[in-house]
Symmetry: C2
Subunit: 397 residues, 2 copies
Amino acid sequence: MKTSFAITTMCLALGLAPPAPAEDQPSPATSNVPGAQTPSIHSDRRITFSLQAPAATSLRVAGGDGLGVGPFPMTKSTGGNWSVTTPPSVPGFHYYWFVLNGVEVNDPASETYFGYGKETSGVEVPEVGADFYAIQKVPHGEVRAKWYLSKTTAEWRRAFVYTPPGYDADSSTRYPVLILQHGSGENETGWTRQGRAQFILDNLIAAGKARPMIVVMDRGYAWPAGAPIMQQGPAEWLQGQTAFEDVVVRDLIPMIDTSYRTIPDREHRAMAGLSMGGMQTLFISLEHLDLFAYIGSFSGSIVPNMRTATGTLQPFDPKTAYGGVFADSATFNKRVKLLWLGVGTAEEGDFRARTIATVQAIRKGGVHVEYFESKDTAHEWQTWRRDLNDFAPRLFR
Amino acid sequence: MKTSFAITTMCLALGLAPPAPAEDQPSPATSNVPGAQTPSIHSDRRITFSLQAPAATSLRVAGGDGLGVGPFPMTKSTGGNWSVTTPPSVPGFHYYWFVLNGVEVNDPASETYFGYGKETSGVEVPEVGADFYAIQKVPHGEVRAKWYLSKTTAEWRRAFVYTPPGYDADSSTRYPVLILQHGSGENETGWTRQGRAQFILDNLIAAGKARPMIVVMDRGYAWPAGAPIMQQGPAEWLQGQTAFEDVVVRDLIPMIDTSYRTIPDREHRAMAGLSMGGMQTLFISLEHLDLFAYIGSFSGSIVPNMRTATGTLQPFDPKTAYGGVFADSATFNKRVKLLWLGVGTAEEGDFRARTIATVQAIRKGGVHVEYFESKDTAHEWQTWRRDLNDFAPRLFR
């Protein structure tokens, strides 16, 4: 498999047609609706897409980073079935969509996954040997939809709450809590649908690698009740972020501690998130070290002076960043049991470089920070699954 | 509102353009993704749909029964925005889709709901005065995703389990169980997403109208592990139904009774379902009266001799139907605390007539059966929400 993939990649790099694999029997993606034959995944991670559309005059496939550099034009058979087989993609979950006569639409053959602010098709490309996010024959926790009334926003909100295996069987045990947030354009369904966080935790707990914990996944958007809607800009952005901070601190944590058998102190509470959720995690947790002792940012933007955000990226100064929380490294290291930053090596732009620079600046000031790289993965869920798999075992030790 | 609706309906029946309502400020449907302005619902229940599609050459809206007799052709503005406002629909939840250059696609402005074997757009049209399925300021239960390994199918299955308010707070109370099934083309998400079963139960329990209960919603499809896939036909159909029966009886009920604080006897176990789920309920529960004392079929097909199904609709004979379970009415009435059949008065075909004829035949034999009609609603979720709202209060009394 690896050799086949290497040859294919080499041929594509050289502009040659790759040889057909010896046994190329593509399998329907596990992200499809039951019975759908495409998207199908080849052994070298090429993906075949198809759509019956006799009256369409233009059809392409486009998608998230890991799908490859598209869009990929599809070709029509005489029967009106359009199809394309893309070059090998990276492993993991990729959002995708069809562009049908100029309109971005879902593939009816795919389940949908909330991303880009809407329901979006997704294709799961297996990673050879990676079973840490597979559903396995181990005890399973539950994922509970929990509705609660937010005082901050005056709305009913839904959080998903993972309770570990055995939670109901022994009603005396109390558990630590990880608040785990999605990225921009996604919602509270992301970590269990795209991220498979519940299976990652099940597997870690079964192997004795992670401590049994409650994981809370909330909706990362909020607006203060009664506040007028403003024009888009830094002030509105900050008001929304502050409202979400209030939701977490004033509504969510008290509700969780009342509703579940938590250990309701900072030593047993963590927060982490991906992308926007990582940014929110740093913003909220570093401001509330009375509430959190474990902090993780998965490909999260680092906005060191959010309270005075102007819309331009500010340089990271460990003396002043995040209200100066890093300035006294001895105090910080004593209070914060874990500060963890992760990034995929294939993320676009200078994101990785900026993360590394921040880690170096923090370390230079004497503050302990863990840095994790996900090899060859982009700003996508495979990176964040690996992040969680590395982060969760370090919690509450 | 009612007068406006009557006038509009009358005008449409006469082929006249209805007058614009005095205050026609359509509101975005609650079934939309956050921020989407259409579909929007007018006060007289007309619905405006729109899609930006400059390069499309043909665009229509089509959907479920209650949306009205479509498809509804959309018209393109100079800016490339297509739109249409449909005649007043019936209240409730309607599946819909766009037909874009001949291809059925979702509306990116809508959340998706699993129906027709795939993710489908849906539009929620409010019913004036009906708040029994709204999320209200009452104690809320949880909806838990529960994974379990089926011996019958050798697959990991996901059931959703509603636990009533207070379930976790008092770990000594045990609860009765309702197994509640979706319809054909839908899946285990239907009753909580389209049906809002959790809010119906929350509201009934808060009002003291229904006894607190656990509600189990499983996936209504199964195939025996290792069995060869057959051609479609009555034999395959029966094998699939029998496999689902085995899942319920051998896998699901034991798993639920082990995992949750149930009262694990027939007097505290009910089964109900809609459409295909109603058919399955009659098939399974009437065969297993040792397991169920309460039975509900919501617009369910009545297939009186499923064990020998030939693919043609058989006449209902209370002496032989369902293995002759109705033949001894005294015994049946003593064992079965509730047999409940419901139908919407606007369901297509002779479905209502056949249900009434069955009810009459059953009653003629001396068997007690409750019959419920949902006024003016079709083979749609508004019928089944009303069904559940009537059925649940009758359970476990």
